[in-house]
Chain length 377, copies 2
């Protein structure tokens, strides 16, 4: 199927993938008198007396804002808030279909850190949680950190945490398949944006000792020029041998390649230099760092991409519905590292016997949402 | 029916009057590949190349934001953004039911003029229009005026314009019933908030010459103490005899009383001092300035309130669905005085032969939306 052509067709046909649906009847005068004036004054006054009642008398408990500034849409980069909307609408309908959550896509017209923080704080009274989406690094780190402190509802940056969780889940099952051990792995993460940094942090927390992170200028190491604060911090915990240069050198003898960068940056020759039974997660969207058929030919043992049209989709769509279902149902105010790891384990072990071509559950598998939500509780 | 009790029951039962509904199928891997990655990259790139495509490839064309800071909820006052939500949800479901519009309620956590303006500008890429709601005067005047200039999508403050339009419609039909003539009317408007000011402005534009506006300190006249800028401006065009004092004095010999103030401020004695065939629109919500049965006993010729449980509901729910349907369908960027008057005439003349007890169409009458939308085009 030509996904591009068909997707344009679908988007033209529907002109919007979601809509609002009333849950109450509005056919009679009495219906209106209860849902609107004069009756509506009563629930308003109940909440005015006790703000907590907004969780019982409105849709707030089930509502999540999907907020993006359009600066890092998929692997397409800074294409603006209008152009980010098809992705945010897609997330909204996935939220509803798989977790029953009412997500509102809000693509906003500012890229300033302080303004995005303020925006999220302003909408707090309307929502149960905030899903930040496709906001470019390094701004996303500051925004997420500050909002975790300043909001009393949970905030989750899907490109960081969603991706890190699903990668950890895929890695857990890759180890179950290959027999490799997490503390002995050599891991290369290509791409030091939101996803790359968050994946690296989560893998280190789970015992990965040898991990090299690369940005567009090559490997990251302590003392390298042109490192922002987040990269400086991660340089202290990664690439302890201070390997310099580009991916071609860094990937040698590694067990795991994780790509959150751009199309076609990996070639077959590089895979041939990796350790035995190499595990590759080339996850750039829409076109991965190497196409699965090529990677397989070059000797990859396990291959997972971000796409639903290849086996082993490593997509945060597996994560965010369950995370928010769990956060909302258990009334949690923060997303902790422990929750992230529990979520990854829940995803991984929802497959009883993982294989090379059946690493992760399908995004369409509704059991996963429940498993994650339970793990978070 | 005990609306308060029943409304609390309804709100507790539904815990949110609206929800998100997907318009696309998400059952298969292919469904996901078109609505989300990888296919979704194609519509994103189309919009990135040409922002105007966001009107074709997303729900933007049908989406209106209902923005409130919770400072003037119904007649209840500043009860906060959380407590305003039941009203905003009510508007959202009315938008959908009567105009097919997807309205998103956003109750925000700031009351600062500049921040509310900035907020509305930030969400512009997501919406086709902005319905400001229950934002208290005089801040609402500055916010609306500035947004009319600074946004490229239409903004409509329902408490100002929605109320003014439906009052003009009710007045047009009251004149058809009583035979009174607009230029000879003596009108008293009690309440100089968003609605009172907007009603007064619109009536003056339609030829009303003798009109007195009152705030909580009494009649407004040129040179009075404690007038904000908007009241100073309106003082130049109203109360030319500079009548001082309270409502009891001002209402004497008037043809029309319009109440957008508080419960029970009018008594029978006052009505008895009005001109023959007095027309009363006591519209305070949820409890009017005088209850219709009392007003009738005191001699009122025509009585209309904001409530759906009495005859002659003068409620902006008659206006906003049609206004936005018209604005969206005809791709208008501003709401003009001409549009407001056309909308009022369309509402009034949707009743072929108005009578004392059948002044306006029912809010549940879906023909009104079409009539207003056509009038705007």
């Amino acid at each position: 199927m030509d996904y591009n052509k068909q997707s344009i067709k679908l988007h033209k046909r529907y002109q919007g993938k979601f809509e609002i649906k009333s849950r109450v009847s509005l056919k009679t005068k009495d219906d209106l008198s209860l849902a609107y004036t004069p009756g509506v004054a009563a629930p308003c006054m109940e909440i005015a007396k006790n703000k907590e009642k907004s969780w019982e008398l409105t849709n707030r408990k089930n509502m999540v804002a999907v907020v993006s500034d359009g600066t890092a849409i998929l692997g397409l980069g800074d294409i603006g808030p209008e152009a980010g909307m098809p992705v945010m609408e897609g997330k909204a309908v996935i939220f509803k279909e798989f977790a029953g959550i009412d997500a509102i896509p809000l693509c906003i017209n500012t890229t300033k850190v302080e303004e995005i923080i303020k925006f999220c704080k302003q909408i707090e009274p309307t929502f149960a949680g905030i899903n930040l989406e496709d906001i470019s690094a390094p701004r996303c780190f500051e925004i997420t950190k500050r909002l975790e402190k300043e909001l009393s509802i949970p905030v989750f940056h899907d490109d960081q945490d969603g991706t890190a969780i699903v990668v950890l889940a895929a890695l857990i099952n890759s180890l179950r398949v290959t027999g490799k051990v997490i503390k002995d792995l050599k891991v290369v993460v290509n791409g030091a944006g939101a996803a790359g940094i968050a994946i690296t942090r989560l893998l280190i927390s789970q015992g990965v000792k040898d991990i090299i992170l690369l940005d567009s200028k090559g490997t990251i190491y302590k003392g390298r020029a042109k490192l922002n604060d987040v990269k400086k911090e991660i340089a202290l915990k990664t690439n302890k041998s201070k390997i310099k240069g580009n991916l071609k050198g860094a990937i040698k003898k590694s067990d795991v390649f994780i790509g959150v960068s751009k199309a076609n940056l990996v070639n077959c020759q590089m895979i041939k230099t990796m350790a035995p039974k190499p595990i590759l997660f080339p996850m750039a969207n829409p076109v991965p760092e190497i196409m699965p058929n090529l990677a397989k030919k070059a000797g990859a043992s396990i291959i997972g991409t971000g796409r639903s049209d290849f086996p082993n989709q490593i997509n945060n769509a597996l994560v965010f519905p369950g995370i928010f279902r769990g956060l909302i149902d258990s009334e949690k105010k923060k997303v902790t590292v422990k929750m992230k790891v529990s979520a990854a384990i829940a995803i991984a072990y929802s497959i009883k016997k993982p294989t090379k071509n059946n690493l992760l559950p399908k995004v369409t598998d509704k059991k996963v949402v429940k498993a994650i939500a339970n793990a978070i509780k």
